[in-house]
C-alpha cells in the first residue's frame, strides 16, 4: 500500500501547513468560521524518514513550563513497538513567535528504541499565561510547529478559562471529528481528556455497533508492551487528533481502556490471567507505553493523579481511578459496595484529594473524574432490554435483582461518602466533577443526601459528564435510531434521580467548558454521524453552575 502511504503523507504535510497557517492567522482570536475539512485516512508511518510522523503535542501547562512531546522515526525500520532503530539526538526550540525569532528556550535530548523513539521535554523559565510555539529538529527533518500556552501565574485574577472536554475515542467506531472541531476553534486554553483515549480491543471485538469503521493495529487485543506502543502510535496518526494536539496543551488521565476494560488494581474484566499474561506485567506495559506516548507529566513508578492551577480562578485535580481500586463487586454476598475496606481511589490519593479541597486558594475546584460520582438509581419501569443496554453503558451489574453501577463511584460508596462528607462538613464551594467514561451527556447535582435532596435540593457539588467521541452508546446498543427509544429511558432515569437535570444517552461529540468567576458553563456539541469523516457539529445544550451554588441550571 506504498502509493496510499505516499498519498497520505502528502496530504498530511499539506494539512499540516494549513494548520500552521491557521494558528498564525487566528492565534488568540475566537474560532474561525471556515468549515473544517475532514481528515483523510490515517496512514501508517514509515515513508519519509527521518520524520516526525506522529505529530507534536504539549501538555500539563504550569506557569513557567509546559511539557512538549513528539516521536521521531529515524529510519524506515524504526516503527513503533518494534524495538528497532538507532538512538538519536533530537533538538527542540520554544519561541514566543511562530517564526522562532524570539527564542525562549532550546535544547536537545536523546531518544531511542528504549522509549520507542518518543521525546518528552519540559522547557523551563517560560512566562505565565503566554502563548509559545515549539518544534523539533533532527538532521534532515523538522517537525510541524506546535502552539501551546503556559498557565497564568499562581494567585492572579483570570477572567476566563476555556477548555475542550473529551473522553472515549474508539478508533474502530468512527472518526475523530470531535477533535477536528475543537482544533478549529482556536479559543481553547487547554483540552481535558478524561480517559479512554484509546481502546484495547482487536478488530471485531468493539466497534460502531457491528461495523468496524477502521480496524485497530495491531489486529489483536493489546496485551504486550509492543501492542500498547503500536496502538498508541496508530491513534497518533489520526490527523484530527494530531491537529488538536498541535494547537492546544492537553491535560489527561486514563480510565480503563488504556489498560483493559473495567480495570482494577489486580486485574480487569477484559483480562484473562495466564493466556493474556500476568496482570502486573500488562499494567506495567500499558503504563509505560502511556508515559512514552502521551504529553503528560507521568513516568512509570510515579502517580498520574496531580493538580494543575490556573491563577486564582480554577484548579484541576486529575484522578486515577484504576490503579488503586478494589475489584468491582459482583454479588450480594461479596459485601462490597459499601464496605469501608474497599476503595476506588486508594488512601494516599483520597488524602491528597480531600486536603486539596481544603487548602486550595483557587475559586473553582475542578476534578477530572474518570467515572461518575453522582448516584444513579435505575428506574423500575424499564424493560429488561433497556436495563441490559444501560447496564452495558454504565458498567453495571445486577445483584440480587437490583442493578448496581459497580464500576462507578456507586460501587464504592464508602469512598464516595468520604468525599461528599468532606465537601459538606467543610462547606467547600465551587467543586465541579468533570466526568467521562459512560458515553453519554449528563448535568447533575451531587446531593448532600439523596434521601432529602428531593425536598431541600441540597447539593455539595455539580457533575458534568461529556459524551464519547465515537464509542457506542444507548441507541447503538439498543439498535435504534438516535433520539427515539432512548428518550423515554432518559426521562425515566431523570424521574428516578431528581438530581439528574440533563441526560443524553445517544449523542457523540465533545464539550466546551467556559470558566469565569461568576459561573462555569458547559456546552455539549453533538456530531451528525461518527462513522462519516464529513460529520457536522451542532451545539446541543448548555448548562451552567453559578458561582457559590453547587448546582446546575439550564442556559440553553
Amino acid at each position: 500500500m506504498g502509493a496510499l502511504r505516499l498519498e497520505g503523507m502528502s496530504l498530511f504535510n499539506r494539512r499540516d501547513l494549513i494548520r500552521t497557517a491557521g494558528v498564525l492567522a487566528f492565534a488568540g482570536v475566537t474560532t474561525t468560521t471556515a468549515r473544517s475539512q475532514p481528515a483523510e485516512a490515517a496512514t501508517p508511518p514509515g515513508a519519509a524518514v527521518p520524520g516526525f510522523l506522529h505529530g507534536v503535542a504539549s501538555g500539563d501547562p504550569l506557569p513557567s513550563s509546559v511539557l512538549l512531546w513528539t516521536r521521531i522515526t529515524p529510519t524506515p525500520g524504526a516503527v513503533p513497538g518494534s524495538g528497532f532503530g538507532p538512538d538519536v539526538t533530537v533538538n527542540w526550540e520554544v519561541a514566543e513567535d511562530s517564526g522562532f525569532l524570539r527564542m525562549a528556550d532550546r535544547g536537545s535530548v536523546r531518544t531511542g528504541p528504549a522509549r520507542d523513539h518518543t521525546v518528552k521535554v519540559v522547557p523551563g523559565g517560560l512566562r505565565p499565561g503566554t502563548t509559545y510555539w515549539y518544534r523539533f529538529i533532527v538532521a534532515g527533518a523538522t517537525s510541524s510547529t506546535g502552539r501551546t500556552r503556559t498557565a497564568p501565574a499562581a494567585g492572579t485574577a483570570v477572567d476566563r478559562l476555556r477548555m475542550g472536554v473529551v473522553s472515549c475515542a474508539n478508533w474502530q467506531a468512527g472518526y475523530f471529528s470531535a477533535y477536528r472541531y475543537l482544533a478549529d476553534r482556536g479559543d481553547l486554553d487547554v483540552v481535558l481528556h478524561l480517559g479512554d483515549y484509546l481502546y484495547e480491543y482487536g478488530p471485531g471485538e468493539y466497534q460502531a455497533r457491528d461495523v468496524v469503521v477502521r480496524p485497530h493495529d495491531p489486529a489483536v487485543e493489546m496485551t504486550t508492551l509492543s501492542h500498547y506502543r503500536r496502538r498508541h502510535a496508530q491513534y497518533k496518526t489520526d490527523l484530527d487528533l494530531q491537529a488538536l494536539h498541535a494547537v492546544v496543551p492537553f491535560v489527561v488521565t486514563w480510565d480503563d481502556h488504556e489498560f483493559a476494560n473495567d480495570a482494577w488494581s489486580g486485574g480487569a474484566e477484559n483480562h484473562t490471567e495466564g493466556p493474556e499474561g500476568v496482570w502486573t506485567d500488562r499494567k506495567a506495559s500499558s503504563q509505560r507505553a502511556y508515559s512514552e506516548w502521551m504529553p503528560v507529566r507521568f513516568e512509570p513508578g510515579g502517580h498520574i493523579y496531580r493538580r494543575l492551577e490556573f491563577g486564582a480562578l480554577a484548579s484541576i485535580s486529575m484522578l486515577d481511578l484504576r490503579t488503586y481500586r478494589s475489584q468491582q463487586a459482583s454479588s450480594i454476598v461479596d459485601p462490597a459496595i459499601g464496605s469501608p475496606a474497599r476503595t476506588l481511589t486508594g488512601d494516599a490519593q483520597m488524602t491528597w484529594l480531600l486536603d486539596g479541597f481544603s487548602s486550595q486558594q483557587t475559586q473553582w475546584k475542578l476534578i477530572g473524574n474518570p467515572v461518575m460520582i453522582a448516584p444513579v438509581r435505575f428506574p423500575s419501569t424499564l424493560s429488561a432490554q433497556e436495563v441490559g443496554a444501560v447496564q452495558q453503558l454504565l458498567g453495571s451489574t445486577t445483584i440480587d435483582g437490583v442493578p448496581y453501577n459497580v464500576d462507578q463511584w456507586d460501587g464504592y460508596t464508602a469512598d464516595r461518602s468520604r468525599v461528599i462528607s468532606h465537601l459538606r462538613d467543610n462547606a467547600i464551594t465551587d467543586a465541579v466533577f468533570l466526568t467521562g467514561d459512560i458515553h453519554s451527556g449528563w448535568a447533575c447535582d451531587v446531593p448532600a443526601d439523596p434521601l432529602t435532596y428531593p425536598t431541600n435540593g441540597a447539593s455539595v457539588a455539580a457533575e458534568l459528564v461529556c459524551t464519547s467521541v465515537t464509542s457506542d452508546n444507548l441507541d447503538d446498543i439498543l439498535g435504534t435510531q438516535p433520539r427515539t427509544a432512548s428518550v423515554a429511558v432518559e426521562e425515566a432515569f431523570k424521574g428516578a434521580n431528581p438530581h439528574v437535570k440533563y441526560l443524553d444517552f445517544d449523542s457523540h461529540g465533545f464539550s466546551v467548558l467556559e470558566v469565569t468567576p461568576g459561573a462555569l458553563r458547559m456546552d455539549w456539541y453533538v456530531l451528525s454521524e461518527r462513522t462519516s469523516r464529513a460529520a457536522t457539529s451542532t451545539l446541543s445544550t448548555s448548562w451552567q453552575v453559578a458561582a457559590g451554588t453547587q448546582s446546575v441550571s439550564r442556559v440553553l
Binding site: 494567585g155 492572579t156 485574577a157 483570570v158 491563577g311 486564582a312 480562578l313 486558594q361 483557587t362 475559586q363 473553582w364 462528607s421 459538606r424 462538613d425 467543610n426 462547606a427 464551594t429 465551587d430 448532600a448 432529602t452 425536598t455 431541600n456 469565569t516 468567576p517 461568576g518 458561582a547 457559590g548 451554588t549 453547587q550 448546582s551
Partner: protein, 435 residues
C-alpha cells in the same frame, strides 16, 4: 452602672422621628455636637463625598440570595462586585465576626474569639458583650479620629454591648424581642434610615438580625425552611427600603454598600447532638477540670485543673471528644489565631450536628453555626457611587476584609501592626490593580 453595661453617663441623646412618626433615639458621643444636618434631610449637594454603609444580613447563606426570593439583594449583587468564595472566620459566630469586620484583625489581637467564652478570672461562661472585651481600635472610632462621623445600628443586644460608644451616633436596639434579645429588622431599618436622614454619618455599621434569629428556631430548617424563607423575604424588603430611601434622598450616587453575612446557618435534626459534658460523664475526674463554652457548632474547652496536669489532661479530653461521630475536628486555638480567651481546644461539629453544653438539653435549637459548614457567606460591594464597579471576583473575601476595604475608601491608614485582612479594592474603579 452595672458591670458590662455598654453605656456611660456621658452620652447625649438625640430623638429623631422616622417616617411614619415612630421615634428613634440615638446616643451621641460626648463632645460631638449634634450636626446641623440633624435638622434637615440629606440633600443632593452633599453627594461629593462617599457614604459607606455596611449591612450585615446576620446568618444569611450565599445560596439564599436569589432573584426569586430576595430580588433586591440579588439586584444589588448583580450590579456591584460579588465575591462568591467569601467566608466567615473562626469561630463562625456573630460577635467575633462583627469585631473582625470593624477591626480588620484576628481574635488573637482583638480579644474576641467567640460569642461565649469561659472567663477564667470570673470563673463563669459568658458572652463577650462588654466594651472592654474588645481590645483593638475599630473603624467606628478610627474614622472619628480622622474627622469623619460614624454610626452603629446593631439589632442585637450583645453587639450593641461590645461596640458600646465607639461610633459617633449609636442606636440602642429597641424594641428588643424576648428570648432572642434583638430588634426586628423593620425597627432596625427605621433607625438606620432616620440616622442617615437626620445626621447623615459618613459611615454606618448595621446588623439585621431577623434572618439569623428565625433561622436558629426554624424546625423545618433541614427541609423546607418555611420560617427562614419568610424572614429572608422581609429582610430583602427592608434592604430595598433603604436603597429606595437613598435614591429618593439623592444620596444613592454617593453611596457604597458592603453587604455580607457574619456566618451562615446549618440545621441539625434533634438526635444529632454532641455534649462534651456527656462524653466526659464517665471520667468525672476530667470533667471536673474542664470548662465548656458552647458556641452552637463549636465548643471551646478550657483546662481548669492544675497546670502541671494540663498537657496530659487536654490530650485525654481531645481523644475522647474526637471519637464522637459528630465531631469533625479539634483544633488548637493558636492555630486558628483565636488567642488565649478561646481556651485550650476548639471542637468543631460536622454538618447537620450541633453541640449542646453544659447539658445535653442546653441547646435545643435546630439552626446553628460556628462550625466550618457555616463558613460560606454572601459578600458583595454595591451602591450608586461611580467608584463601585460591576463584576465577580475569585478572591476569597472574608469578614476580616471589611475594615481595610472601608478604610481604603476613606484613605484611612492601617492600624498599628497592620491589618490581618485585605482591602478588596477590585470592587472599586479607583482601586489598585487586581491582585
Amino acid at each position: 452602672m452595672s458591670a458590662g453595661s455598654p453605656v456611660s453617663d456621658r452620652r447625649q441623646f438625640l430623638t429623631l422621628f422616622a417616617a411614619g412618626g415612630a421615634s428613634v433615639v440615638l446616643s451621641v458621643a460626648a463632645g460631638d455636637a449634634v450636626p446641623a444636618s440633624a435638622q434637615t434631610t440629606v440633600t443632593p449637594s452633599q453627594t461629593a463625598r462617599t457614604r459607606v454603609y455596611v449591612l450585615v444580613v446576620d446568618g444569611c447563606r450565599p445560596d439564599e440570595i436569589t432573584a426569586g426570593l430576595t430580588p433586591r439583594l440579588a439586584a444589588l449583587r448583580a450590579g456591584g462586585t460579588n465575591f462568591p468564595g467569601a467566608r466567615s472566620l473562626p469561630v463562625m459566630e456573630t460577635i467575633p465576626n462583627h469585631v473582625m469586620m470593624m477591626t480588620g484583625v484576628r481574635p488573637d489581637r482583638s480579644g474576641v474569639p467567640a460569642n461565649a467564652i469561659y472567663d477564667r478570672a470570673a470563673g463563669v461562661v459568658r458572652d463577650l458583650d462588654r466594651p472592654n472585651d474588645l481590645r483593638f481600635s475599630t473603624l467606628l472610632d478610627r474614622l472619628r479620629e480622622k474627622g469623619f462621623t460614624t454610626g452603629s445600628v446593631l439589632s442585637k443586644r450583645y453587639l450593641f454591648g461590645i461596640f458600646g460608644e465607639r461610633a459617633t451616633y449609636r442606636w440602642e436596639p429597641s424594641p428588643l424581642l424576648p428570648v432572642t434579645q434583638h430588634a426586628p429588622d423593620s425597627a432596625t431599618m427605621d433607625a438606620l434610615i432616620a440616622m442617615v436622614d437626620k445626621v447623615d454619618p459618613d459611615f454606618v455599621f448595621t446588623n439585621l438580625g431577623d434572618v439569623d434569629r428565625v433561622g436558629h428556631a426554624d424546625v423545618t430548617g433541614t427541609t423546607v425552611q418555611a420560617a427562614r424563607t419568610a424572614a429572608l423575604k422581609d429582610t430583602d424588603n427592608q434592604v430595598g427600603r433603604f436603597v429606595d430611601h437613598l435614591v429618593a434622598a439623592g444620596a444613592w450616587e454617593s453611596s457604597v454598600l458592603i453587604i455580607l453575612a457574619d456566618h451562615s446557618m446549618d440545621w441539625s435534626i434533634p438526635a444529632n447532638v454532641i455534649s462534651v459534658d456527656q462524653i466526659l460523664s464517665a471520667r468525672k475526674d476530667l470533667r471536673a477540670q474542664v470548662a465548656i463554652a458552647q458556641n452552637g457548632g463549636a465548643d471551646l474547652l478550657y483546662w481548669t485543673g492544675p497546670p502541671a496536669a494540663r498537657d496530659a489532661g487536654v490530650a485525654e479530653v481531645r481523644a475522647l471528644v474526637a471519637a464522637h461521630p459528630g465531631v469533625l475536628s479539634i483544633a488548637i486555638p493558636a492555630d486558628l489565631r483565636l488567642g488565649v480567651e478561646a481556651g485550650d481546644l476548639v471542637a468543631y461539629c460536622r454538618a447537620g450536628w450541633r453541640f449542646s453544653d453544659p447539658y445535653v438539653a442546653s441547646n435545643p435549637i435546630p439552626g446553628n453555626h460556628g462550625h466550618p459548614a457555616t463558613e460560606p457567606i454572601p459578600f458583595f460591594v454595591a451602591g450608586g457611587s461611580p467608584r463601585v464597579v460591576t463584576g465577580v471576583s475569585s478572591q476569597f473575601a472574608r469578614t476580616l476584609d471589611v475594615a481595610p476595604t472601608v478604610g481604603a475608601l476613606f484613605g484611612l491608614t492601617a492600624p498599628a501592626g497592620g491589618y490581618d485582612g485585605t482591602a478588596r479594592t477590585v470592587a472599586f474603579a479607583d482601586g489598585n490593580a487586581r491582585p
